[in-house]
């Protein structure tokens, strides 16, 4: 597991090591952090620990510029959430903000220095049509996908095609579940909704409970296939766990029990394994014991290690070895394998490999 020595991961584990970095190492760190979408998060970390002045003068602007962007995005996300709330006011059912949007809405550590591509929300399945038409009235429309991708979303996915705002270009993903219907595991969305938390500052907007937030993030990471921001998502998880443990000392027990209830122990097992590997997140031994029933056999774990220690590293040349492309490919196929039965998967991959590239090579968010 030599890739645990990725400079960015080392820096996240021990930020004060930057006082000893050579300029050549700074060059690598900035490039890895930019590729991983973590420049602004590092900047936040350095400020928090009063380390910003340890950054060489000619390097500082990279962190400041990323901070500027992240601050602006955070304000923009808060504002967009209000707009979505207004648009969905008459839905007759509160909507739940997921992932990054939720971290901002609930003012969690994981919102610090985070960059956004889109805002994810969860609505009950029977409200999906109403939600989509209300959002369309407010200016969000499905764009940029091929006909095949649109059909694929509607038929098989746990979300509708991404909606982009006609003026502001912001993108919303509307989900009715956290995994597709065809997936191996079926976490019950009603159970997730039942524990959702109302936010005092943002009435009408809810977020998942701390344990569900973590399980969702882990599930997403190990089922999504494309991992351009794998390490960023791991740092989100690390921060979410630390926040939750601070609020509740019995949090581990709660988390493991909830994972079992939602059939999500396996993604939790992998998340904790690679959190330890990349970020030294303190996970007590009892948690391993409790997750034993969900632990794959030794052979599978060894194989997964070879895949995920590579696929979760930043997408930068300095973090790749000869097996990295293969590992990313394997992570992609594995994720699809878990998301749909074999006959569908084979048809889908054939379409993606041989038909889609000839029809349309500008798909912004392929399924």
């Amino acid at each position: 597991m030599h890739l645990s020595r990725v400079l960015l991961a080392c820096t996240l584990r021990a930020p004060d090591s930057i006082t000893r970095l050579s300029l050549a190492k700074w060059d690598t760190l900035v490039r890895q952090a930019r590729a991983a979408g973590l420049l602004a998060r590092l900047a936040h970390l350095f400020r928090q620990l009063d380390l910003f002045k340890a950054i060489p003068a000619n390097v500082q602007w990279h962190f400041e510029a990323a901070e500027t962007l992240a601050d602006r995005q955070r304000t923009a996300v808060q504002w967009e959430l209000q707009q979505i709330h207004k648009a969905l006011d008459d839905l007759g059912s509160p909507f739940i903000v997921l992932k990054g949007g939720a971290y901002v809405a609930a003012n969690l550590s994981a919102a610090n220095g985070r960059l956004f591509n889109d805002i994810d929300i969860l609505v009950p399945r029977d409200k999906l049509g109403d939600a989509e038409s209300s959002l369309m009235l407010a200016g969000w429309h499905a764009t940029g996908l091929s006909e095949y991708d649109k059909r694929y979303y509607r038929r098989w996915m746990h979300e509708i095609p991404p909606l982009q705002h006609i003026q502001r270009d912001t993108v919303i993903d509307v989900h009715h579940a956290i995994l597709p219907d065809t997936a191996r595991y079926h976490p019950d969305s009603a159970k997730l909704r039942s524990r959702a938390i109302e936010l005092p500052d943002l009435p009408g907007i809810r977020v998942l409970a701390a344990e569900d937030r973590i399980l969702h993030s882990a599930t997403h990471l190990f089922h999504d296939g494309e991992l351009p921001h794998g390490l960023r998502d791991l740092t989100d998880l690390d921060l979410l766990l630390r926040d939750a443990l601070e609020a509740d000392t019995h949090f581990w027990t709660l988390l493991v029990a909830r994972a079992t209830e939602l059939q999500l122990s396996r993604p939790l097992f992998y998340a904790l394994r690679y959190l330890r590997h990349f970020l030294d997140t303190p996970v007590p031994g009892e948690v391993d014991t409790a997750l034993q029933p969900a632990t794959p056999n030794r052979f599978t774990v060894a194989l997964m290690d070879r895949v995920f220690t590579r696929a979760l590293a930043p997408t930068h040349d300095s973090c790749a070895d000869v097996y990295t492309p293969l590992a990313r490919q394997a992570a992609f196929i594995r994720a699809h394998w878990l998301r749909m039965p074999a006959h569908l998967l084979i048809l889908h991959l054939i379409h993606k490999a041989f038909i889609s590239p000839h029809l349309d090579n500008s798909t912004p968010k392929p399924a």
């Binding site: 050579s22 060059d27 930019r34 590729a35 602007w61 400041e64 500027t68 601050d71 602006r72």
Partner: protein, 307 residues
């Protein structure tokens, strides 16, 4: 060390190997390319720019222009720009490798360097005051910029006006001046001694060539300038040279819309932009004769200098 001091062989060796380390304005670059066109473009246009040994350790932007790794290279040779492994544009015909590097560098600055308010405008300086020339394509902005910098004005930038958010001063980024279509001939006629490189035909912007930036502008690339004017030039056949004052509020709106990162800066963008407009006289400018246009600009600079 200056780029022109490198032997052609050494330049090619560094460029096609780990990349050559160069400085333009406040940014350090590592440029890597296997195309002889790119080596040629750098030699011709970047001779006065600082280079350092290939071992120089830190660079702001790691960029490359190389043949893409798809099958088309056997059919119609192409060039692909990459910013540290990321390809923001589709590949272009190989003949456009050098302009692609220029466009790619502009893209790096305009999407990353948020320590500046970045306005899409040319900017030139005389007597310590800068004239910002924002204008849509086809307005004769680059012809006028080239004419001015060949007549004693200092080139700060032909595309990207960088306003330092902390000081409000304009940071030079003098690089080759991009000339399009007829303006290539106009500038050649205006000053036959100036160097303009081989034109790339049929680019997305038509025929494109680059003019070597004046030596003095490159040597003074760390000397910032105070904003003096915002002038919207418009070339019109047969028009009388005329400078007319324009509303500051409208000018502000135009600059905000034509800034690459105004919306990213939030309230600070407004603060920096309005401070800029406060200090600047704003004009519309029509002209048909380049010499007259330059004389008018010189008068402006003279008046500001004596008052």
């Amino acid at each position: 060390m200056k780029l022109l001091q490198l032997s052609h062989h050494e330049l090619r060796r560094q460029l096609s190997g780990a990349g050559i380390w160069m400085r333009t304005g406040p940014f350090s670059l590592r440029v890597q390319s296997r195309f002889p066109y790119v080596a040629e473009g750098l030699t011709e246009l970047y001779g006065q720019f600082e280079v350092r040994s290939a071992q120089e350790s830190f660079a702001d932007f790691h960029v490359s222009v190389n043949p893409p790794t798809n099958l088309r290279r056997w059919v119609r040779p192409q060039a692909a720009f990459s910013f540290d492994g990321m390809q923001p544009f589709k590949p272009l015909p190989q003949d456009q490798a050098f302009p692609m590097l220029e466009w790619g560098l502009n893209w790096c600055v305009s999407t990353q360097a948020h320590q500046y308010l970045i306005i899409h405008a040319a900017v030139v300086e005389k007597n310590g005051l800068a004239a910002i020339l924002p204008a849509p394509p086809g307005s004769g902005k680059s012809t006028l910029t080239a004419g001015l910098v060949l007549s004693g004005w200092r080139l700060l930038s032909d595309e990207l006006t960088l306003i330092n958010r902390k000081t409000g001063l304009i940071q030079p980024l003098p690089r080759p001046v991009s000339l399009k279509n007829q303006s290539i001939e106009v500038v050649r006629e205006f000053d036959p001694a100036t160097y303009i490189n081989r034109a790339s035909l049929d680019t997305i912007k038509g025929t494109v060539a680059h003019m070597r930036p004046p030596r003095d502008s490159v040597l003074r690339q760390h000397e910032t300038a105070r904003p003096g004017w915002v002038i919207f030039p418009k070339w019109e056949a047969g028009a009388r040279t005329r400078l007319t004052p324009r509303s500051k509020a409208q000018t502000f709106m135009f600059l905000a819309q034509n800034a690459f990162n105004y919306s990213h800066l939030g309230a600070d963008g407004f603060r920096v932009g309005s401070a800029l407009i406060d200090q600047s006289d704003c004009y519309d400018f029509r002209y048909s004769q380049l010499h007259e246009a330059i004389a008018e600009f010189d008068r402006l600079a003279e008046t500001a200098h004596t008052t």
